[in-house]
Amino acid sequence: NAGVTQTPKFRILKIGQSMTLQCTQDMNHNYMYWYRQDPGMGLKLIYYSVGAGITDKGEVPNGYNVSRSTTEDFPLRLELAAPSQTSVYFCASSPWDSGNHEQFFGPGTRLTVL
């Protein structure tokens, strides 16, 4: 199993540009999450999904959109990029069943908005 994969690893955007961060998991997990981590800070939840077709906002959803058309994929869309969105973005998945709350994280996407 590859686990959770994210692309791209790095990206530089200009202010106002848009992009999609890709996230794929091959563990058949129902739950998927997007976090952002600013330098020296903890992770903040952007959006999450409990299954295909179901998404909900986390703590910091403004400026982002998500979709979940399949169990495997959970892309994060940035519209009109702003410098405040410079961060490292982590995708995670979890079975969240039978009391198992472990989240499996991807390697992250480092995004810079100039």
């Binding site: 959770v4 739950y31 999450y33 976090y35 800070m41 903890g42 992770l43 903040k44 939840l45 999450y48 409990v50 179901i54 909900d56 986390g58 703590e59 982590f90 995670a92 969240w96 009391g99 198992n100 709350h101 472990e102 989240q103 499996f104 994280f105 991807g106 390697p107 992250g108």
Partner: protein
Amino acid sequence: LAKTTQPISMDSYEGQEVNITCSHNNIATNDYITWYQQFPSQGPRFIIQGYKTKVTNEVASLFIPADRKSSTLSLPRVSLSDTAVYYCLVGVRTGGGNKLTFGTGTQLKVEL
């Protein structure tokens, strides 16, 4: 959301036991507590989870008092490779969804 508080940093020496405490005063009845380890430029990695009392696995123990307003991650006999940031996470499955809050993280530095 259950807010969590951890010490910003801790120092230790190889071979010592390290205890990192997380405060979560407004933890809800259904909340579980999980701990993660994060190395620079990597995603967090799961260490242990618990609901109450004590849980032990091959790498750590988790102590949760009866009131569940705090939890303590115990790392026995740390080594240099345990130098990392440790996060506690309090989360609950509510109404079909999950609300999760990461703590501020504790930077553990292990020296010889």
